[in-house]
Symmetry: C2
Subunit: 171 residues, 2 copies
């Protein structure tokens, strides 16, 4: 098969994307590490739990929402549990199959950290974009996500991160 | 100071961006790990060296091009050196101050790996975008990068990744 090399426009867009995504993640991670002692992923886990009914989610659902593998989630939640921000319930024989619950302490961490985090997201990203570009960014990213997750939820590919290592008895 | 919370449009765009960037990095990393046994960052380092005159760059310049800290780059280049893909020259007393050179073996790895990598980038990203969206993505990402690097190269902030830990005697 002949390789479909990138066009000059695509190459420019790809390099710009790699640079922006690395710098953005660096800025956000650094602010959260400095102010809350946690990386961006951990903040995202707490934020997802705070949005869920009763502030609780099954680990498999939490992995899908955060778009990571269950083993990576298990590692992160174990640390958040030690910090007292998250409590785990049910299915003790398999940590991936259990439910993660945001504690009062975790909610307090989130409330204390959110203003600084949002300021960083705004200063790093949204202050640089026009309202049209905000819409464009959402459309572009939604298209990418649909492509990688499969357009039809019934046919989500097995190789999305949260479906890997699906040997859990309670998942 | 009152927190400037995100608008609903910004929130949707931000969530879409986080999901897309995690899934995209996962897809690209996985393909490169499977076919070349290296993560995306290592591929990017080799690709940057192959684009440079004489396929060589000072470590400080390579860190700036790849948008990472010099300590992270040093770690990666040490592994690439062990694999035989990169050779390091000069300033042996401080690895960060030295020059990285792409070897013939590294060039061969890149040539062997590029077609599969480009196919993945195309299938994951560009096949989902219209030509207008490719232009939009480049403009959005260039704006973000300028914001985080400073618009004026003379006033690049000290907190960009490649300027941190600037105690190198040869940098």
């Amino acid at each position: 098969m002949t390789t479909r090399w990138l066009t000059p426009e695509e190459q420019r867009a790809w390099r710009a994307y790699i640079a922006a995504s690395l710098l953005l993640e660096d800025a956000i991670d650094r602010q959260l590490q400095q102010e809350a002692g946690m990386p961006h992923l951990y903040y995202t886990i707490l934020a997802n739990l705070s949005d869920a009914p009763d502030r609780r989610l099954r680990m498999t659902d939490l992995a899908e929402r955060t778009k990571i593998t269950r083993s990576r989630l298990t590692y992160a939640v174990t640390r958040l549990e030690k910090d007292g921000s998250v409590r785990r319930e049910g299915c003790r024989s398999d940590k991936r199959g259990s439910t993660a619950v945001l504690t009062e302490e975790g909610m307090a961490v989130l409330e204390r950290t959110a203003p600084g985090h949002v300021e960083t997201v705004r200063a790093s990203l949204f202050d640089r974009l026009t309202p049209e570009q905000v819409t464009q960014l959402e459309e572009i990213c939604t298209g990418i996500t649909r492509g990688l997750e499969g357009d039809d939820p019934q046919t989500t590919p097995d190789d999305v991160p949260w479906r890997r290592r699906s040997s859990s008895p309670c998942a």
